[in-house]
């Protein structure tokens, strides 16, 4: 991936930001379960980053595992 492609992705993301008027089918007040700590994408970053390091140091594969970010959108 070249810087140009990265730039296009950023631009596309910013343009998509204008699409914020989509009616959410899961209302903010319906996201209490998703906001529960047991549903966190990465409950303890210090632990998960260490464990990923343990695996990636001993395996040929690398990348893409772990949290992609994103939470419950509860605020």
């Amino acid at each position: 991936m070249r810087p140009l492609a990265m730039g296009l992705l950023v631009t596309a993301m910013l343009l998509l930001g204008a699409c914020g008027n989509v009616e959410p089918w899961v209302k903010p007040y319906e996201r209490d379960r998703l906001a529960d700590p047991i549903m966190a994408a990465d409950r303890d970053p210090i632990s998960s980053s260490y464990l990923h390091h343990v695996f990636e140091s001993r395996e040929g594969a690398r990348g893409a595992m772990g949290s992609a970010g994103g939470g419950c959108g509860c605020n």
Binding site: P24, V26, L34, P45, S57, E59, R62, G63, G69, G71
Partner: protein, 395 residues
């Protein structure tokens, strides 16, 4: 004559990945639209398996201010004691330590979080610096979060001198690394979140291990084989895509699943699958259990035993490039205690995590078994455990 091996033997082909992971620990833990919580974590970690013991501390502190910014710092150490199969068959046991620190900052503006991070790692024969930039954006009524990440790494590889304990002044190589990551997280129902992540990584420079050797048939040797230095390509590009999901069960528990496919220009393909279950008990306890499966094919230039010296342009016998599978089971427990002392502490947790890993190699042989014809030694395998003890406070 055996020469002293250095820790690079234990961290062979994804050396700088931990730097990006450290950056992600700092910058990637934020849900879009919400800055990460103010908290501090102190971890003791220990890996023990295959003759290798690595342990040490890690401290991660994060603090927000002005409701728009959050800064974080991480200090991490590894104390390595190694008598791994590579070391006992081609070199001699060693001890080493690695020190790593990271700084990160996040800023929120509207529904977008911008993240920056920098990580430095130092040890006697290897130095690495990584810079990280990322952003995440909530879309579509905050049901969708898109995140982008880019990191750039600069490594300097050195080699310990064969004698005297210093660094070989005649050897110094550089490695340049770039990593691109895009992820999407989507709320599907009141109970279900799914996600997809794509990550491309390119490496250029000195990618092999200055200490590691390959084995080749040598009828003039008493064992029937000899060793020569391995040679890797100077470029590597990999692509990985992962799908994940988390589901909230009706009785307040959670299940999660994740799958990853990986492929690279060295010919390695791999599949990773992981499932986990989280179960709260009473108000104060959370228990976790998980299972992880991993399998990979070997690199194109990998062989346990080459037919002759300099048989190929590129040669590797790193077991991380071999065909193998691993199975992991893990358990965790967290106990939450109330804050109030000191007064700024809102709450805290005491945590233990334990993972047990079984590695089975399909084309990497155990050279500790002697007296057999080259290439007929038993296949190698080993078990390892990973222990984490940590305390966290929120303030």
């Amino acid at each position: 004559m055996a020469i002293r091996a250095a820790p690079r033997c234990e961290w062979p082909i994804s050396r700088v990945r931990h730097l990006l992971l450290a950056a992600l620990a700092l910058a990637g833990s934020a849900a879009a639209g919400v800055l990460p919580e103010d908290r501090a974590d102190l971890l003791y970690h220990r890996y023990d398996g295959g003759g290798v013991t690595i342990d040490g501390p890690s401290l991660l502190v994060r603090k927000s201010f002005l409701e728009k910014f959050s800064v974080s710092g991480n200090f991490y150490m590894d104390f390595v004691s190694s008598a791994s199969i590579d070391v006992v068959t081609t070199a001699s046991p060693y001890e080493e330590e690695r020190t790593q620190w990271s700084l990160g900052a996040d800023a929120i503006r509207g529904k977008t979080i911008y993240s920056l991070g920098f990580t430095n790692s130092e040890e006697s024969d290897y130095q690495s610096d990584t810079a990280y930039f990322g952003l995440s954006q909530d879309l579509f009524g905050d049901l969708t979060t898109v995140s982008l990440g880019y990191s750039r790494g600069w490594d300097t590889v050195r080699r310990r001198a064969a004698s005297g304990g210093g660094v070989d002044p005649t050897f110094e190589e550089d490695t340049d690394r770039r990593q691109y990551r895009i992820g999407v997280s989507q709320i599907l129902t009141k109970n279900l979140i799914i996600g997809a992540t794509f990550e491309a990584i390119t490496d250029e420079g000195f990618l092999n291990n200055p200490y590691r050797s390959v084995r080749y048939v040598d009828s003039g040797s008493g064992t029937g084989y000899s060793f020569e230095a391995e040679i890797y390509p100077r470029t590597r590009t990999s692509n990985a895509v992962a799908l994940s999901s988390r589901y909230f069960l009706p009785y307040r528990a959670a299940v999660r699943g994740e799958y990853r496919f990986f492929t690279d220009t060295w010919g390695i393909d791999s599949h990773t699958a992981e499932i986990g279950y989280t179960h709260p008990w009473e108000p104060k306890w959370i228990f976790d259990v998980k299972y992880r499966f991993y399998t990979q094919s070997s690199a194109d230039f990998y062989s346990d035993l080459f037919p002759r010296a300099q048989a190929q342009n590129f040669e590797g016998r790193d077991k991380e490039l071999a065909t193998f599978t691993s199975n992991t089971i893990g358990f965790g427990a967290s106990y939450e205690f109330p804050g109030g002392w000191p007064r700024f502490v809102q709450k805290g947790t005491l945590n233990v995590r334990f993972d047990y890993i079984i590695f089975d190699y399909k084309d990497f042989r155990d050279l500790r078994v002697t007296g057999l014809a080259p290439g007929t030694e038993p296949l190698y395998g080993f078990n390892a455990y990973v222990l984490q003890l940590f305390a966290s406070i929120w303030f």
